[in-house]
Symmetry: C2
Subunit: 422 residues, 2 copies
Amino acid sequence: MEIAANDPSLKSWVEIPVDSDFPIQNLPFGIFKENGKKRAGVAIGDKVLDLSALQEYGLLNDLSLPNKVFDQEVLNGFLHLGKPTGRKVRNRVSELLQENNDELRSHYALGSILFDQSKVKMCMPVQIGDYTDFYSSEQHAFNVGCMFRDPKNALMPNWKHIPVGYHGRASSIIESGIPIHRPKGQQKPNDEEPAVFGPCKLLDFELETAFITCGENGLGEAIPVEKAEDHIFGMVLFNDWSARDIQKWEYVPLGPFLAKNFASCISPWIVTLDALEPFRIEGPKQDPPVLPYLQYEGEKHFDIELEVAIKPEGSEEKVVGHSNFKYMYWNMAQQLAHQTVNGCNIRTGDMYGSGTISGPESSQFGSMLEISWKGTKPVSMPDGSERKFILDGDTVIMRGHAKHNGLRIGFGEVSTKILPAK
Amino acid sequence: MEIAANDPSLKSWVEIPVDSDFPIQNLPFGIFKENGKKRAGVAIGDKVLDLSALQEYGLLNDLSLPNKVFDQEVLNGFLHLGKPTGRKVRNRVSELLQENNDELRSHYALGSILFDQSKVKMCMPVQIGDYTDFYSSEQHAFNVGCMFRDPKNALMPNWKHIPVGYHGRASSIIESGIPIHRPKGQQKPNDEEPAVFGPCKLLDFELETAFITCGENGLGEAIPVEKAEDHIFGMVLFNDWSARDIQKWEYVPLGPFLAKNFASCISPWIVTLDALEPFRIEGPKQDPPVLPYLQYEGEKHFDIELEVAIKPEGSEEKVVGHSNFKYMYWNMAQQLAHQTVNGCNIRTGDMYGSGTISGPESSQFGSMLEISWKGTKPVSMPDGSERKFILDGDTVIMRGHAKHNGLRIGFGEVSTKILPAK
C-alpha cells in the first residue's frame, strides 16, 4: 500500500537524533500530559507534537474531524473514526513536519505545540474495552510444552489448528514507567504439602506485542481474515507479567487468572500498521493447512526486532533476550478473524496480545521461564548477581523497532520496576 | 443490617400484583428507554419509576447527588458514588412510594414519572469494565468432573482451595430480550478425524447469577474478605451461553474462549444486596479449611430460588431446572477477595458471574450438559420434542427470587431466543 507519509526520502525540520525510533516516517499516536492536561500527540524525534493544538489552530481543517477530537484523555474517539481517517491525519502531520513546509514551523509559537518528550508524562493511549492474550509463537508453545509435558508431544493437538487465546484483565493494563508491587497469591510449591499464601517467588515477564482495534463489528458478525487489518489500527510493546507459581496451581482447568491480572504494561505510543507497511514479510508455512476461515493471502507478518533487558537496582541493564515479531506462527489478521468467527464483537480500543514471542535460538527466548529453562540456567547480571526469575528492585525494559534500508520505525520502550510485595 | 426500605410491613400506593418480583421492599435499579431516551429507573410492581424525573423535580434534593446522575445511559456514575449513597436513594424512593406519602403521588403528573414496564425497553444497566466468571458451585464442578474425568476424583485438586475463575468477554454481555444467532466455530467431534468448522451442535445455557461492583481499589491494593461486600452493589441473573463442542476442542491449556464469548445475557434490574439482606444464610462448611485470606464470618450466602425454562418455538415453556444460589460453595465476598488478593484492581460496573449453580438433585442442575447428562438423558418438551441441548428457535428463560414470610424479592427474568447460525 502506498502511503504518502511513508516515503523514505522525507526529512523533517524537527531534528531527528541518529537511530531515533520516531523519524518522520513513523508518527505514532499517544496521549501525553503537559501542564496538568492530557491530550493527543504524535512523536517526532525527541519531541511530542500536540494534535489538539494543531486542530485548534485550524491546521487540520480539511480533514473533516469532529471538534476537539484530540482534546481528550484517550484516543478512542479518534481511533473510532477508522483507519482511513487515521491515515489522513498521519499524512497531514507528515506534511506539516516536512523540511520544506513552513505552515506550522514559521507561523506558530512552537513552544506551545512541540514539547520535549522528557518533559511530558506519557499516559494510557486508549481506554481498553476488552483484552485478549494469544499464544501464537510456536517456539514459545514448544518450549513450555517441553518443560511441563513431553518434548515429543510439546504442542497441544489444537495448537496448529487454532490461534489459541484467552481473555485477560483490562483494568490492570498500565503504561510504561509505573512501578508495581510483586503480587501475592496461593501457591503449591510441593505436591505433598498444603497450598500456601505469600509473595510470588517465580515472577516473570513475557515479551509480547499487542494490537489495538478500531471500529466495531456487530454482535454476531464475523470479521473475515481479509478484512481484519481494516480493524487493526496499530501496535504497542506489551509486557505480560506472569506469576509462574500462582499460575501453576490455579490454571487447570479454566486458564490463567491471578497469575496474570495483577498488571500488564504497554509502551505508550501506538505505532500504526501504516507505518509498519515497509516491514511486511511472509509468515511461516502453516502445515497442516488451516481451515478456510483462517487462510490468508499476502504478507501479514512483520519484521520487528524485539529485545528485553533486566536492570538490577543501582546497576546497568543486561539484554537477556532478542526476538522478532516475525516468529509468530499465527498473524494478527488470523487472530482477529478467529476471535470474531463466532460472532464475538470487537470495539474500538480493544487490545490483543501476541503471546510471548520466542525465536528458535535460546538467545531469542521471550520469558525468564524459557531463558533460565525453569530456573536451571541462571543468567548472570552486570553487578555479579544471577537471575532465574525477576527480583525486587529489578526494572524490566522491552524495546522494539523495525529497520530496513536505513529506515527505522521504533516503538520506544516499556519499562517497569518491581517493588517488594506489600 | 437495619435498612429502612426493607421493612416488611411497608405498603405502596402503587398497585403491586400478587407474587410480583418488585414489591416496595425490592426497588432494584435499571436503565430504561422511553420516548427514545435512556435513563435510570426503579422497578415497582409492574411500573418503572423515573429517577431522572425525581431528581429534576427536586424530590431527591437532600441526598447531595451530582446533577443529572440518573439522566445517563448507564448506572456507572450512580454506582460509583458507593453503597451508602445507593442506600440513601433506595430509602428515599421507598419513602416516596409508601402508601401514606403524597409528596410524589399527589403533586406530580404521574404519567411522566411512572411508566408501564411493558411499554418501555429495558437496556444494559451498566457499562461493564471487566467480566470474570467463577466456577463456584460444588455440584456443578463435581458433575463436570464425573462426566469428563473420574467420578472418584471429580473435583480438581485446587477446587476447594481457590474460588476458581477466569476472565471473560465484556463486549458481548447483553440484556434480556435480544435474540442471538447460534455461534459457529472449530470443533473436533472425532479424535481420529480432522477438526471441522460449522455451527455449534452442542449449544448450552448456564444458570448463573452475577454481581456488579461499585467503587475502586487501587492497583496493588487487595480488598479483604470482610470489606468485599462494600464493593458489591447488587446482583442480576446471568445466562452464560456455552458452545460445548467448541469448548472441548479449544480449552486446553488456556481455558474457554470462543465457546463463551459469543454472548452472555443478563436480567436488566440490579437487585441490591441491601434488598437481599433478609435472605442471608450460612454457607456450607468449607473442609479442608481455606487459607486465612478466604476465611469469613457471618452469613455471606443468600437463599435465592432460581429456575431455567426452555420454550420451543410456538410451544409452551418447560422448566428444566430448579436451583438455588445457596448451593454456592464459595460466596461473593470470597470471590472478590480472591480476585483482588494479588492487587488486581476492580472498577465500578465490573461483573462477576457465579458459575453454573447446580443443586444436589438432578432436578436442580443448571446446564443441559448436566440435565441431559452429556446428551444421554434427553428431556421431553410440551410439544412432544426432546432436548439434549438447545435447538434453533428455542427461548431460554431464567428467573430468580428470594421468598420468606410472605416477602418476595425477585429479579424478573433473562430471556433469550436462539436464531439459526448465520
